[in-house]
Structures are given as C-alpha cells and as structure tokens.
C-alpha cells in the first residue's frame, strides 16, 4: 500500500510538473518574442532568439515610447492606488454605520448596494459615462468616484458582514469613556477590520488595474490606462504593426502583476477565497 502510494506520488508530481510548464508557455512565448525582430516573430514564433533574430531591448525602447505607453503605466498606477485607498476608507466607514445604525435608510442603502453587485456593467455603461461627463468626473481624479460608487457593493457587503461579527460592547465601552465616533472608528474598529481591508484592497486592485471598459468610456480623450493602451495599439493606426513593440508592451503590462503576486501571494489567495462568498 505504502509503495503504491509512493509510486502514485511520483507520477502525480511529474504530471503536475508537465502541466505547470505548459501553463507558463503563453507567457514564455511573449517574453521570448519581445527580444526578437519583427520578421522573426511572424516567421518563427516558437524559435528561441538567436544571433540573427535577437534585437536586444530595442523593442522595449521603440514600442513603448511610440505609444506613449509609460504615461499609461503612470495613470494605471495612480488610478488603481488612489481608488483602492478611497474605497477602503469610505466603504469601511459606511459599513460600520450600516451595521450599527438601525434605521430604514441604512437597510435601503444596504440592499441597494447588494443589488448593484449582480448588475452587469453594460446596463449602466452608457449612462454612467454621461453622468461622469456632466459632473466633470471624466478624468483620472473623477474616475475614483466612479470606482468607489460602482465597487461599493462588494466592499460594503464584505465589511458589513465582518463588522456584525465584532461584539458591540467594545464600542459601547469606548463611547461611555467619552470617545467621539471618529475616534472609536479609527482607534477601535478599523484596526480590527485590517485583515478584511487587505482582502478588499486586493480584490479591488485586481479589478481596477485590469479594467478596460469603464476607463475607456469614462475618461476623456488624452488619458489612457494600460489595458486601453494595449487595445488601442492593436486597433489604432500606428502604421505597420510593430509586433516586437507590442510584445514588449505586453511584458511590461504583466510585470507589475507578477511583482504584486510575489509579494502578496498569501493575501491574494485569501482574498480570492473570501471574494467567492459574494456569490
């Protein structure tokens, strides 16, 4: 029995190893071709770079500067970080209020927020972009409000669930001691919410960083995020498509995600499991 198990484990390990290598092929292909000349990318996409096809980092310098890609990278970082920070702050405060204040308007707000989670973006995309335009929120600063509003459902839902599990006596005691609501929230509640806040930050960061349609419709021309730059590069008119530059662009788009993953793997996986509850 033991011997059989051991053999099974060796076979299982090898099978997983092969599968894991296959899993990485698409990414390896992009990385490899980002160092090759255009002709070689189209003629022999599966060949490793050699003396003839290797072009050093010229794809990176040419492709990225041509499409103003680094500006898009900057906006992606700004919009993601600022939106996540705002979402964490305002939705955790709202969740505390909703969980603790028993009134008709907190129930209405809560159920509307939960309802918004099942509404597909296409339902509101046209009107949202018009609202953003009319209220002058159609720029990288205003879009933060749109993300906070459209993302509030999931964040408030998870936060509220967690606040309800905190014994209310802690807050009562603090308030009897004369602490203001502001102090109670930041000194008592928010520290308890921290693990949940990290989960929610991860979920929102993944969504906003990768989001294509919302910024495309909300931002006025002139502002781009990474997904927008990638899409425009392939559909826009940059003359003959510089595939080498495009490969470089994809690599640069993926690198921040890999770094984020390497540092926050534990939280990311935990966040995914927690986010699944929204079903």
């Amino acid at each position: 029995m033991k011997e059989r198990n051991k053999a099974f484990n060796v076979v299982g390990f090898l099978a997983m190893l092969v599968l894991a290598i296959i899993w990485l092929v698409p990414l390896a292909l992009i990385l490899m071709n980002s160092f090759k000349g255009n002709l070689f990318i189209s003629q022999s996409p599966f060949a490793l770079p050699n003396d003839a096809s290797y072009v050093g980092t010229s794809n990176y310098s040419s492709g990225l500067s041509k499409a103003n890609f680094f500006v898009a990278v900057g906006w992606s970082f700004f919009i993601t970080i600022a939106s996540v920070a705002v979402i964490i702050l305002v939705t955790s405060m709202a969740a505390w209020y909703i969980a603790r204040v028993k009134a008709w308007y907190t129930s209405v707000l809560y159920y509307l927020l939960v309802f918004s989670m099942i509404v597909p973006f296409q339902m509101v995309m046209f009107t949202m972009s018009k609202v953003a335009n009319m209220t002058h929120l159609d720029n990288p600063f205003g879009i933060i409000v749109m993300y906070a509003g459209f993302g509030a459902g999931l964040s408030v839902f998870i936060f509220t669930g967690f606040v309800r599990s905190i014994p209310i006596e802690i807050e009562e005691a603090a308030m009897i001691d004369g602490a203001s609501a502001w102090k109670v929230f930041f000194r008592v509640i928010f520290p308890i919410l921290r693990p949940t806040a990290i989960t929610i930050a991860v979920l929102n960061a993944m969504w906003i960083w990768n989001d294509y349609l919302l910024p495309t419709l909300v931002l006025t021309t002139g502002y781009k995020t990474i997904p927008m730059a990638v899409q425009q590069y392939m559909t826009g008119s940059y003359g003959r498509k510089d595939m080498g530059g495009f490969m470089a662009m994809l690599v640069v788009a993926i690198i921040p995600i890999i770094i984020f993953y390497l540092f926050g793997q534990k939280y990311i996986i935990k966040g995914v499991a927690a986010g699944a509850v929204k079903g």
């Binding site: 599968l19 092929v25 349609l213 997904p227």
Partner: protein
C-alpha cells in the same frame, strides 16, 4: 449607551461619501438606463418615448442579438463544465502529499491576475502562431477557432481561481469522515462520489455560479481575442451590446434595451443560485 442612537447623527461623515459616489456611479445611471431603454435617444437629453419598440427591434431587426445569445450560452455551458471538472481534479491532486504543491498552486493561479485585454492578445498571438505553423490559417478563418480559443483562454484564466476555492473546500472536510471511509475500505471512485463531492457541495455551487456569471459577462477577452471575427460569429452578448451602442448609428435605445434584457438574464441566474445555496444550507 446605545451605539445605534449615538452614531445616527454621524451620517454625513461615515455614510455620505459612499452614498454619494454610489448614487452618481450606480443609482442614477441604472434608473436612467432603465428609462432610456423605452426611448429613442443619441444623448441622454434628447430622448423620446417609444414604448417597447427598442425591445422588439433588438430581436426583429436582425439575428445578431440572438446569435450572440446563442454563442454566449454555448460558450458558458462548455467552459463552466470544463473549468469546474479540471479545477476540481487539480484541487484533488494538489491536496495530496505531493512535492511542491504550493509552487504548482501559485503557477496555476497566476493567469487569473492578468487582465482580459492582455490575456486576449497573449492568446491571439499564441493561437495564430500555432494555426499559422500547422494549417497556414488564423483565428479569423473559422468561427470554431474563435470559440475553442476562447474556451481554452478562459480555462487557463479561471481554473486556478476555482482550484483555490475547491482546495479550501476539500481541506475543510474533517479527517474523521475520510478515515471512516478508509476503514470501510472505500476505494478512490466511491470515496470521491459518496464522500468528497457531497462534502464540498457548497464550493461546487459557488464555483459553478462564478464561472457561469463570468462567462456570460465576458467582454475583454472576447474583444481582444477575435472581436467577433469572422463576421460577428464569435460575438458574445456583452460585445454585441457594446457594438450596438457605439458602432451602429442611432441604435443607443436598442443597445440599452439589450442591456436591460442582459441584466434580467444575469439577475435570474443569480437568484436561482441564491436559492440553490439557501436550500443546501437548510439541508446540511
């Protein structure tokens, strides 16, 4: 001291920011969208009431919307089954005492973090390279390429995510139950069917719902991989709605009507899911 009473007057500080953002980004656009689906408009200020004619037009004008619906349904059923079977198999393998399970899990999960647009182009390049090498064709040659390409892409993206949820489910099964089955001499398949799968039923419901919802709503990957080529044959619901809005002249009303139908469709599935989960919880 009552927290509820004390906190009540602090609405402007704690709840107002979220409420305002929510009204601007969701409540107003949703209500306006619902209203506009019954009107003819090009911007939101020049709408004229036309009753249900947008809804009629969505189906009667041409077959594109029905084709997109049919494409999305086929794609969703095939992908949801494949993703869940494969993710569950991986979760089973990676909860055994294999070497390097953590590294494997990390690798399988990785694609999930990459956005749909980037994923779509990565796979477009890979699939076109393969089709070019072996058949001298590309993705626009046959809609079957686009369909299966999208299925493979979505499997690559979602399997790792569902695997993580299944692993959590499997690890929650108490050791006693497994031991009891082992003592009874249960072999692999009976143990899987009568013990493991029933014990992770709630994970199965969650994963099936998540895959179904995400496949129905799929947009970015669809746009980047084929953009509907050849001739809109690989166009899903979300992409069809987007194009009705922005690419066909004077069709904003029809696009909004399609979006409402899409929303109702997704909401019904979400409701069924909720009921299924509730009844399971009562049983168990």
């Amino acid at each position: 001291m009552q927290v509820s009473k004390y906190l009540r007057k602090w609405f402007p500080l704690f709840a107002l920011p979220t409420t305002l953002a929510f009204i601007l980004a969701f409540v107003v656009p949703f209500a306006m969208g619902l209203y506009l689906s019954f009107t003819k408009f090009t911007t939101v200020t020049n709408s004229q009431w036309v009753g249900v004619s947008n809804y009629v037009q969505a189906f009667s004008e041409n077959k594109d919307f029905l084709n997109a619906l049919w494409f999305s349904l086929r794609f969703t059923v095939v992908s949801a089954i494949l993703v869940n079977v494969l993710a569950f198999a991986l979760a089973l393998a990676l909860t055994r005492a294999l070497k390097g399970t953590n590294v494997f899990r990390a690798i399988f999960f990785l694609p999930n973090l990459i956005g749909g647009i980037v994923l779509g182009y990565v796979w477009q390049l890979l699939i076109n390279a393969l089709l070019g090498k072996f058949f001298s064709q590309d993705l626009t040659y046959d809609s079957a390429y686009g369909f299966w390409g999208l299925v493979i892409l979505v499997n690559w993206q979602m399997i790792g995510y569902m695997m993580v949820i299944y692993i959590a489910g499997i690890q929650n099964i108490s050791a006693d139950v497994i031991e009891a089955a082992d003592i009874d001499g249960a072999s692999f398949w009976p143990k899987l069917i009568h013990v493991t799968i029933p014990m992770v039923a709630s994970s199965v419901t969650i994963c099936v719902f998540l895959t179904v919802a995400n496949c129905l709503k799929l947009f970015d990957q669809n746009l980047a991989l084929t953009a509907g080529a050849p001739q809109n044959q690989t166009e899903g619901l979300a992409l069809n709605i987007f194009r009705t809005f922005y690419l066909i002249r004077n069709h904003q009303g029809v696009g909004q009507a399609k979006a409402v139908i899409f929303f109702v469709f997704v909401a019904v599935i979400a409701f069924l899911q909720l009921r299924a989960t509730r009844s399971k919880e009562l049983d168990g």
